[in-house]
């Protein structure tokens, strides 16, 4: 685990814990460092002590999370909505930070040794020859200049500081993967044009607006003499990039609970998921833009272009890698009968998704971005091939990981406000940052919405725009990006300011969502399923939706529906029907037997956006059938789930018979499609495709 593990010679390290709201009180026996000849024993004891310390530190966070969970439950139980769990986690973190900072005093010790040596570079591994024995040391990083002697001053606070890379390598990936995996794809794809515009153009606009505003402020501060160190234009742009990543987790939780308009939800969610990816790549491109070697930090056209190239390369590389592993998993789950063993299937799914991250990092791409697109691909294709049990397992697993990681990050954020050692709070800079963030968000939302409304049939109303403006919270990604490098004065000031921006937006904007919604008179209690089933039945609305999508997307949908879905999943029309005749043999190999059976049932929740004008008429017939077929599917699922749960309730007896009757009707209605001619023998197609969208229940179930 990547903790900063440090040792205290003769200090009882349990002091911090006594101040914790933890449930046990315990004492650790500190051992005086014996500087006798027993080096071996002393070294072992050092390592043991350091290990105990790590355990105790991690325990602090576990206790904090436990406490958060209990309080969240209390809030949910009492239907108290003004403070989200993440805001709560921050408050608890803050309290512990205050206690550690002001409540605990640790006497200094001299167990850290400063060596001077004549080496030119700093090697990754150091072998130190201490009185004839070799000890291996690894590089942790550079300590800020002039701080050499103050390093061990506040050991207690340094202890609870994680290696920032922990956030990037352990905590962010499950959060981002879950975002991709639980995407409501129907609404996402309906608004994909707008979402991409906000996420790409909007984030770039926001980044530059914030960067330029900050540059003005910083120049002014330099004139006034308020600036304590260097702050270049690239630093301003970097700041713009990191605070452009929105994370409306609080807002979306409330939206979900109140069933706010699905399009607004899709716009906000889609934007926030994708702009995380954009912000990561943007910020690393800006770092790459910094002219290496000389400190001129001036504007250079060539470097700018190179930076843009880096952006495109990293983004597309990560995208391709994520999609590739997703497709690979879909293939594996389609062509093996792994679904008979849900444990193996879940493990494979988990490992393949994780390997995306590692592969991208090993190739020099961005793992987090790759994981996002892997998640979307898994939800779109692989999810259809999984057994129902694995579908539940994977959903629940990533939901849990996401929950834990998110709350961990937010409580750590609270803690950091007091435990971080090199805060630089500059009032002018902070005011400037708040103004810049506001301007950047406004320059993102309003002009782009205006442009988008020119092309959209379903306009983005001004109340929607205000809510999107207001809902630009900053969260985990902004924090992780800003804590990644806090070596220079500029970066430290950025980090402190970012922390305040996160606190402000999560508490004030997050808490104000409810009043904001009612002030903007946005309809609440919209049932997304109902709304969508109307779309499905009503042909004119369908055509609207279809026309909304631009032609590149229509081509893509078509391709996806006719070739990719059948190739990668058990659903979709058989490839034998869609591929030209010359590929007959190949098509027959690649089409799973289920595809023929399900041919009439292809109507999953984004199929209605997949078709082009050519087959609108055939589509209509298809829908009529599919309503029945979905009925039969529901019944089939009931049958297959019986073994697990033990049948329906007794007073469902009558209802059961009704369903049975309907089932007969269904069989007759789809006789041409489903191979269920004999009504006595139960159909053998228990492996019919489950509802393909992870996060919400199948709308067809309600139409029964």
């Amino acid at each position: 685990m990547g903790f900063t593990s440090r040792h205290f010679g003769g200090v009882k390290p349990s002091k911090a814990l006594l101040f914790l709201p933890c449930l046990f009180t315990f004492f650790l026996v500190g051992s005086q460092g014996e500087s006798t000849a027993m080096d071996n024993v002393a070294t072992e004891r050092l390592a043991e002590e350091s290990h105990r310390q790590d355990s105790a530190n991690l325990l602090i966070f576990i206790m904090l999370l436990t406490l958060t969970i209990l309080t969240i439950w209390l809030f949910k139980h009492r239907r108290f909505r003004f403070l989200h769990e993440t805001g709560l986690a921050m408050i608890y973190g803050l309290l512990v930070g205050v206690i550690l900072r002001f409540g605990v005093h640790v006497p200094q010790n001299m167990s850290n040794v400063v060596l001077s040596c004549a080496v030119n570079a700093s090697p990754a591994t150091l072998l130190v020859n201490i009185s004839g024995r070799y000890f291996e040391y690894t590089l942790k990083g550079e300590v800020s200049r002039g701080k050499g002697h103050q390093v061990q001053d506040d050991e207690m606070l340094r202890k609870v500081t994680f290696d920032p890379e922990v956030f990037f390598n352990i905590l962010l990936p499950p959060i981002i993967f879950h975002a991709g995996y639980s995407l409501k794809r129907r609404h996402f794809f309906r608004n994909i044009g707008s979402i991409l515009t906000y996420a790409f153009m909007g984030t770039v606009i926001s980044c530059f607006v914030i960067g330029l505003t900050m540059y003005c402020f910083v120049s002014f501060m330099k004139v006034v003499g308020q600036l304590g160190g260097d702050f270049y234009f690239t630093d301003c742009l970097f700041f713009g990039a990191i605070v452009s990543a929105t994370d409306p987790v609080t807002v979306l939780a409330i939206f979900n609970e109140l069933k706010v308009d699905v399009d607004l939800y899709a716009l906000l969610f889609g934007e926030s998921v994708l702009n995380d990816a954009v912000a990561i790549v943007l910020s690393s491109s800006i770092v790459a833009y910094q002219p290496a070697g000389d400190n001129s930090h001036s504007f250079e056209a060539m470097a700018m272009l190179k930076s843009f190239g880096v952006f495109l390369g990293v983004f597309s590389g990560s995208f391709a890698l994520g999609v590739a592993t997703g497709v690979m998993t879909a293939f594996v789950t389609k062509f093996t009968k792994l679904r008979d063993f849900p444990l193996l299937e879940t493990a494979l799914f988990f490992l393949m998704s994780w390997s995306t991250f590692l592969l991208a990092e090993a190739c020099g791409f961005t793992g987090v971005v790759a994981v996002l697109f892997c998640g979307i691909t898994q939800a779109h294709y692989t999810y259809n091939n999984l057994s129902p049990e694995s579908q539940d397992r994977t959903k629940q697993l990533f939901e849990l990981l996401n929950f834990l990681a998110e709350n961990f990050i937010f409580s750590y954020m609270g803690l950091t406000l007091f435990s971080f050692q090199s805060h630089v709070f500059n009032p002018l800079f902070i005011v400037g940052a708040f103004v810049a963030v506001f301007l950047g968000r406004a320059a993102n939302i309003y002009p782009l919405s205006f442009l988008l409304n020119l092309g959209r049939k379903n306009k983005i109303g001004s109340n929607f725009q205000h809510v999107m403006m207001f809902a630009g919270l900053r969260g985990a990604m902004t924090f992780a990006l800003s804590i990644r490098d806090t070596a220079t004065y500029a970066r430290q000031m950025m980090f402190s300011t970012t922390l305040l921006i996160v606190f402000f937006t999560v508490w004030i904007c997050g808490g104000g969502t409810m009043p904001m919604l009612s002030f903007m008179s946005i309809s609440v209690g919209v049932d997304s399923d109902q709304e969508s089933s109307v779309t499905m039945v009503d042909g004119s609305q369908r055509r609207n939706t279809k026309r909304e999508s631009a032609w590149p997307f229509r081509i893509w949908y078509n391709f996806d529906h006719n070739y990719l879905k059948p190739l990668l999943t058990h659903s979709g029309p058989p490839l034998t029907a869609t591929l030209p005749a010359c590929c007959g043999l190949l098509a027959r190999c690649l089409t799973s037997p289920q595809a023929y059976e399900n041919e009439g049932q292809l109507h999953d929740d984004d199929s209605d956006f997949i078709l082009n004008d050519a087959n609108v008429s055939s589509m209509y017939a298809d829908v009529t059938v599919s309503t029945d077929a979905s009925g039969s599917r529901t019944i089939n699922r009931k049958r297959s789930s019986t073994g697990g749960t033990g049948g329906g309730p007794p007073d469902d007896g009558l209802d059961q018979e009704l369903t049975l009757g309907e089932h007969e009707l269904v069989i007759r209605g789809t006789r041409l499609v489903l191979p269920m001619d004999d009504p006595v023998e139960p159909p053998t197609t228990v492996t019919l495709p489950p509802p393909p969208s992870p996060p919400h229940s199948d709308p067809h179930r309600h139409r029964l």
Copy 2:
């Protein structure tokens, strides 16, 4: 992430990956270390390169696991039982180890620097002043003497070496927790006396027999001149302790599949779970026994006693801590309505279980042992309070973690045979070790079985004894204990020998289980549920079972049934009925409303071993009622599960009506207990306790 991260100056680090059976081929662009003035950039690049390397290393293992999963599936699909998944994982690891060892040659580089300095001890943190800038280094450990110059010889192999503590802190806890959580408690408790005897006395006997045998061999080797270094008596004992931990994961998987006799299963499983705990504590006590400072390593009575004290202290401390957190979780889940939010509940359960480990480590106890008892407590109490969804979630989560961790350890084991740098294979020692392990196991099983059979009604047959002898595989725990410290010659020889013992037992003994079972003519295909329901109905057999348990266990069962279960869970008789009248108020506060409703239903799967002679008669009446009550419970559960799965299958209609009739009967049978007087209104007690045993389905369901 605890890898040994090292950097190669100008080497393309992807070479290893090209030899992997991995699905992508990719190239990493190696960057020549620029030793110009741009230290900053160089350092950053170093860190980045090292991070890439780490990702690539971890990717090797992920790919190995993925491959293992696919092959396991193939084996299960083809019903090929001679090689278990763990054996398979080892083979794949072995192959990759061979490739890394002989297929890849990395040119040397000099990026490691040896410093000499005048410090006395080795500090945990080192600040190195390199041309005016301070770099922070942390201690990784001592490098074996005289190896200072050869350290970077085989970087490629060192890279894939994990910090051994990773096994103890990350991989073992979920395995051990899962063992505790999925314990078949009914059969476990029925044989608890025998299990404890084998686990405690057996392991200690085995440890000393192996230790003494090895001491004879080592003395002989010293005479012959085959010993290349020091090997003391305490080393022999330590070796005895680490190879005494059995891990019959292969055997039990086959037993489970074939439904071998449940008592044999319980004996083997219980022994192997508990003797892991005993072996850990025993080995650390032996290390503590080694007289500090002087290297006499002679036998001292006082040190021996001290060591025994350490054993008792650490074991009981870990036990108490594990049980305490389990009880705490039971309390929290009982007295909050957390069950309305399965995600929160699962997260809390996970965090509390993890905190057990950290707490124990922070207190200086053994986390793994604490986690085992925490798991047992959670399964016995907390599991009853969880919502059905959380029960599934927690089971599946720990099942997955267990699966991944186990296969990771076994594939790492295979890899280690070739990647570990300091193997010491001594043919004489290896032969001695195999003989000693055989003798140790025999001295554990046969004499103790003889003694136990004196007291047992249900004798342990000689064929059972032979199977137990044969099934003494060595696995994850033995490996983790032996890799923990490989600094000295003795420890290196132990590690290499242990590896061979693990390979041999997993492949030969594991693979030979099927022939062994048929050779010993042990009955196969015993349905544990059927067998137990017979026990329940047949009164005489019940009394046999009861008499089997010794009196301390009977007292404990009684206490557990009357006080602990009602206090910690929703099940059991109300405390108001069991506590003396003076505690009336307290009892009323602590009894959950469900307890009154369930009073007649208390018959969960170990209640029949809980009662003492005093209430045998009342017990009989209770059982008669409970058979009905369980029927009503099943119906209630059906009702509650309807919302989730959508009712029973259509052809269950008749069956449904039958059940309904039975339901009426049930209501009349338990009228005094269940508040379900109005048959029209559905009962409001949908929150009735689910079947309380995690691993197997409720036997009462089969009796409907």
